[in-house]
Symmetry: C2
Subunit: 383 residues, 2 copies
């Protein structure tokens, strides 16, 4: 039996039970201007609402967990989720079997599509808040890639002051997204620009340029050629080294040498960028792996002779070449991430390779983990 308290409402909860919610719901910070729903309460519950008078089955779907919504006499459906982790989550509505974005939110590219997002206020959200500090610019750069025979796009963060002192040059961080995400992620749900603005304002990070490109890149298929069997082979490494870096160095006032270049990525991007730096120690001198390593998805002990063609065999040389070797992981990440990163760390320990290891408290394989990783990593490089 449930007691109905003043200021609380009973809704169906998850798939079956009923629950009460703390009735201090506020509009999500990433709603479209003027949109009152979705809302979030102080327990991290998400409440969505949509007018669908003719519908007979509407659900709120956050991270694959579906919450039943209920209809009032005007055809307005309302539903509330269980408490969510602090930070950003992708979600959608399901209206009579159709999975659609919630018309109340702004949209974010993830899970292979532009969809709704919700922001659960985090206790440490100040580090990515829009504050009264000098702000850098985020620029959209369109360029033609000969290797992929296609137009590509990247977003480039230039730090506050970039437009003022035109003689100054800056180090560059190449920062990659995860699988089924794209070049928009880091400057949108990643809040990379605000994180750097705040770090630079407080003197915790050196002013730097950040390049956020798309990690998917494939050879063009010749006319009449049969499509390749299985997964196409990524040529992102070639695109980055042969096309993106020269284009960035030719467009922005960069310090164009290995000591002033860092590379980092999240999940698939962590895997990709580790391979890239180990193949190009002449190009980069700092690595950041956020929730990922190149041995993914294996959790087995790493054979240092064969892994990445023996790139970690000579631990002393790795220590000499890589100034900052940085790994981060959320404490709530599912397998195989902890096992896989754990096996990688064990190998580094055995090889005597120095590294930083950071754990994001109470976050899973999601953007608050990666915002925190960027904050920590960006504070260490180019010093």
């Amino acid at each position: 039996m449930t007691v109905l308290l003043v200021g609380t409402v009973i809704f169906s909860y998850g798939q079956s039970s009923t629950a009460t919610y703390k009735e201090d719901f506020k509009p999500s910070s990433v709603n479209q201007q003027g949109k009152v729903y979705p809302q979030v309460n102080s327990e991290g519950c998400v409440r969505a609402q949509i007018l669908a008078p003719e519908a007979h089955h509407v659900r709120l779907d956050i991270g694959g967990v579906k919450y039943e919504m209920t209809k009032d006499e005007k055809g307005l459906w309302t539903g509330t989720s269980a408490p969510q982790d602090e930070g950003f989550h992708y979600y959608q509505l399901n209206i009579d079997g159709a999975s659609v974005p919630d018309p109340g939110t702004t949209y974010f590219y993830g899970a292979g599509r532009l969809g709704s997002g919700i922001e659960i206020p985090a206790h440490d959200e100040e580090f990515y808040a829009l504050k009264d500090v000098p702000h850098g610019l985020v620029s959209e750069k369109t360029y033609f890639s000969k290797l992929t025979a296609s137009w590509r796009r990247c977003f480039v963060y230039t730090p506050p002051g970039y437009e003022k002192d035109l003689s100054k040059r800056y180090p560059v961080l190449y920062l990659q997204h995860g699988s089924f995400e794209d070049e928009t992620g880091w400057a949108s749900q990643g809040k990379a620009d605000l994180i750097l603005d705040n770090l630079i304002a407080s003197g915790k990070a050196s002013p730097m340029i950040i390049v956020m490109d798309n990690g998917y890149a494939y050879k063009p298929q010749a006319v009449g050629e049969a499509p390749p069997a299985g997964r196409p082979v990524s040529i992102f490494e070639d695109v980055l080294i042969q096309e993106i870096i020269p284009m960035i160095d030719g467009t922005f006032r960069t310090k164009a040498d290995r000591t002033n270049r860092a590379i980092a990525g999240l999940s698939m991007g962590a895997n990709q960028t580790m391979r890239i730096i180990m193949n190009h120690l002449d190009v980069f001198s700092n690595y950041g792996g956020f929730s990922g390593t190149s041995n993914y998805p294996s959790t087995d002990p790493i054979d240092v002779n064969s892994f990445l063609n023996g790139a970690f065999k000579n631990g002393k040389e790795v220590n000499q070449k890589i100034k900052v070797f940085w790994l981060g992981l959320g404490t709530k990440e599912p397998n195989p991430f902890p096992g896989s990163v754990g096996a990688f760390k064990k190998m580094l320990d055995q090889q005597g390779i120095a590294y930083h290891y950071y754990e994001s408290e109470k976050t899973a394989h999601e953007w608050l983990t990666w915002r925190r990783c960027l904050k920590e990593y960006a504070s260490k490089i180019f010093k």
Copy 2:
């Protein structure tokens, strides 16, 4: 009776009749990556598709006209519109009474919300196509407005070469959106960056900076103060003159004088910017009104003594002060636009004020009209 031809399909058409379509549908150019629907055929018909197995009534809604969709045995709904005008249109799907974005498209801010868009290829689309020419940058600039007590944002186009010759300064066009749109419109569905890239590459326009800000700006409401009765009073003019222009001149390498400043806008933006230039002839020397004038929505003859405080009374002075006075309109625009712009032109004629007048063939109050207007207007200014 309808004859079913090979290669054609019969669908319900508009609200009632049936029709056949030319079966040469192709995915819309503004779809999300990899999304096959919506599609457009060579007649300008739009075909949408959505999986909604439990739904019983799904419609495609383009510009308020609703087209019934039909369901197959797998729960996939398909519907096709009547031929649409060339260019860009906002649209949405309606699933059992819920109006939602189509999950197949990218999203555009218009009609007061982020929603789906569709691109009907235009016979003259080359002028806004992504081509192998040097490309400028579009930067997102966040700034705090003291007048509105809020964070605001603008997008700034800097032309190709801006990053190369650091001694060069550029003229600036301030370019405004229409009602229920925002600062994202011109560089997204407006394709302002591509239009300028192409014009500059062909030598038809001078390299310029374009600033695209949000035309909605209001005084903050004091704590405890009652909300104003009726519509709040816009303070965009003050924000532009006192905050945006100094911020732009302080951030970018502008030529900061009236001869090197132009202002233009579409619809509501045309109305706003005409008032602004006539109040600030010391700040701007070029005006562009795309589908709008400040006498809107009136179609009555203009009383030159009272209109905009007599700003057009002295035609000779207006001719001296405004180098390019430019007006544009689509031939399919609904009332009161033709009548209102017509009355305004008559006043200019009577006052002996020189102006350019352009008509966009076979387009209505939509973005292809405004893309064409920008192309024509940008070719005339700063010469």
